[in-house]
Symmetry: C4
Subunit: 276 residues, 4 copies
């Protein structure tokens, strides 16, 4: 196991070239938020936007449009039941995040299927939350694309077949190799599994143990993946900064709220960006 | 009467164990907010979330979903008229808060009945606001559970039969013994009655005399009860910090708004947590 | 003409008695906000709440409930078309504010009529914005109550019959005597007319010349009137602090937004409250 | 090419006369925000309001009213499908901004046509975003009015016929002369073309390369045009301050969010206003 280092993050968060525009920093589509769990996709989209993704679109239940726009006017919206429009938009995206607050009902399954059928090999796909549970059901196959899954330990149990007690780095890595996708297994110290490496995140605090923290990480992973060329390093840097911010906030707070992390992403990305 | 002390609060707010996750900090369901009083359940849920409850769900009138999510995406929502879903969720909860903005009409009574019929002995139940008025009507019995009521003096009059003038600590304690549930009687100096003790809260300021302050306390009591093993100490610590925050804000403000208290809960819990 | 003085404000904003509760600080109903001008009643209610009114209710078009609650959960709501409920609530109120964003159509007239028919002599009534224009139409009479009107110069022209050029303190005072209600005539230096006195406000800045500023003042006047026994002094103190806050903000801002004033009311009321 | 200078900005942002009122600072109507892109018109209206425009009205899809009012109660709203009301309001305006989030469908075209048919020669018209794309379609003619277009490079390609590679200052100026309207061509260093001059903006940072930044500029241009007599200088000053704020924020942030710029406009206008 290797730690994710400050150096890796510094090298990943490149200085933005002067002559760039919003398209340079990627188009990202976040899909989730059913009528009960709308807050999850709001938190994910907030994190993606504050991470600097160039253009952020949210596909969600229409009942969530207003609450999203009331706090994040930067995001565009569509009804995730509008399959034609969803399919059309999918082809334009650099990164797709699916899962936060998606749920597991028939609608959720249909939406996931639309994504899996339309994603292209060069696109990056972040599969989170209930979309992981659906993938674990055996009814869906991972498509050809750059894919990362971001399960917590119970979701990883469903996907890998490993009980939480059996989720050692070695076992997790073997399971990841079987799946063929990058895996971020969220825990006190999160571990990340790629084809050739096992990483662990040095940070993390129990002050982060609150609802929405995973949605925020999924949005950050998506936002970083939209901007930085190396997919693995983008993921690792998002994981690292997500907990670095929380660790700092936890110096003065018993619990850290997801939106507090998102608000600080631009400051921490500046602090950790490439020097000179 | 014993004062609630800083030491009691310090011992209650334990340092979070490193290897914990959101489930460790409890599942809480807050029920209330009719079409007129939706803000009350928003304020209660905000307080519960900022208190660090692991997973927060709000059962309310559907007209309140958007305004809730616009400021608190961390909370999940359901329509409190959906009795089947409500009953199902109730069984999963560690703490249930009922009352903020619930009202007293037929719908409110039906919802309260659903809660009373489904609550389990090991669950913690916070009964606040109009739910207290309903309990006082004589049409409902306290179920077997860990229960606290959080009346202001007029609600306590309805529930205990004691006029405000007669609400001495001794009379209140006798009334509490009859009811068999913990009672937080809100006043300038709030008093708390348990089976074997009478507590008084040293803090409190007239700057707190504003709408929504009680809803915020109910949410804090719920949030603390979701995390800390000793129910009485959780209640006492919430009462203490609620006014400690207000007292500090009142050094510079003529009136203290409920959301200002909620925003500071994480900082005060950190400051008052277990040392070493 | 007499200036409104710091001393007058100090004597008006009494230290809150320790043993008080939200009812001590008044029940206020704010009425306005049609489907086009919903923001006006939101700004007025925000000012009333931050002024420390004990219980704030807003009667508005139902389309405004969500945007109000998304930023001000402290307020309760009702549909101002629900005449029965409105009439019932009116009897419970200490202060009624009508006008911000009300408009002048048939609905607005019907609502104004309901208020004028139900208001009681001991209640305080703040008539602002389009409600002033309606009063000026000649179709409505001032009821027996403690009344203040808060026109800008054009509205005062409609109500008093004085063209703006003719609005001298002497002429205004005569017009006020005819009307028999207190008049706050908003201008660069606002003047206030009571039966026996003409006051002028020393503060005021052109940075306040922006939409919503008058709605905010109406809410403050209502909030102060809900708490302080002397009606005239409550009005004068609200006028004074509204511009005192703006003057301070304008030291660093080219324009001052209404919500920025409201956020600071609790701090300024503390600073200007009764000494010792 | 001439740089936009601090001196030009200082002379443009005049000290507000003491005896002024909200009407002095202009009536502005912002038109845009379809059901997918509602955030764009929210961001534009926010920028116009914080720029100090006296009275701000937003014509948008009715689905955006609540999310707008939840964060900007200062704005009035109307449904942009209500052609009669829209036409009526248009005649009262000093400045009209059309385009942010408008889209290009039949509805958008009908709305644009209503504006083009009703605008008066003395009115100022800011054409942004999808309204530029529609103007470039050849189906619409620029009306007689004071007009500025604010395209990014791709929109300018559509409108001018110049490919991005061919967009030199000289070529752009010739194209602008053909069109007969002022053109703000947004790029790393934005350039502005008037009948007799080419200006370039010294500021700008890639931290601004994020969705909504252009909507914010359009709103600022509108807000400045509502207040300051010289149209060209108003435009140039808005362009200058928009990036000056972003440059300062980018000293500590990797990415700058549009609303962060808007919040600081009043402070920067104060700092850059006319001295003595």
């Amino acid at each position: 196991m290797q730690p994710i280092t400050t150096e890796l993050v510094n090298q990943t968060i490149i200085k933005r070239p002067a002559d760039s525009y919003k398209g340079t920093y990627g188009r990202i589509l976040l899909i989730g938020g059913n009528p009960h769990f709308g807050g999850a996709i709001i938190m994910a989209a907030t994190a993606a936007t504050y991470s600097g993704a160039g253009l952020v679109t949210v596909a969600t239940d229409a009942s969530n449009f207003t609450s999203l726009h009331a706090q994040l006017p930067e995001a565009m919206v569509l009804d995730y039941h509008d399959t034609d429009y969803l399919s059309e938009l999918l082809t334009d995206m650099d990164v797709i995040v699916i899962g936060p607050g998606l749920g597991t009902d028939d609608d959720a399954q249909a939406i996931l299927l639309t994504v899996l059928q339309n994603v292209q090999p060069q696109q990056r796909l972040v599969i989170d939350g209930s979309a992981i549970t659906l993938m674990a059901s055996g009814s869906f196959d991972f498509p050809a694309a750059e894919i990362v899954v971001t399960p917590h330990q119970m979701e990883w149990q469903r996907l890998s077949g490993l009980t939480i007690a059996d989720q050692t780095p070695t076992a997790n890595h073997l399971a990841q190799q079987d799946l063929g996708v990058i895996a971020v297994v969220k825990a006190h110290h999160t571990t990340v599994y790629t084809d050739d490496q096992v990483w662990f995140n040095p940070g993390g605090t129990p002050a982060m143990a609150t609802g929405g923290m995973g949605d925020t990480l999924a949005g950050m992973v998506g936002g970083f993946a939209a901007q930085f060329p190396d997919f693995t390093n983008a993921i690792l840097s998002a994981v690292y900064l997500h907990s670095a911010i929380a660790d700092d906030l936890a110096q003065k707070q018993y619990v850290v709220l997801p939106h507090q992390i998102s608000r600080l992403i631009p400051v921490y990305m500046h602090r950790y960006q490439q020097k000179s």
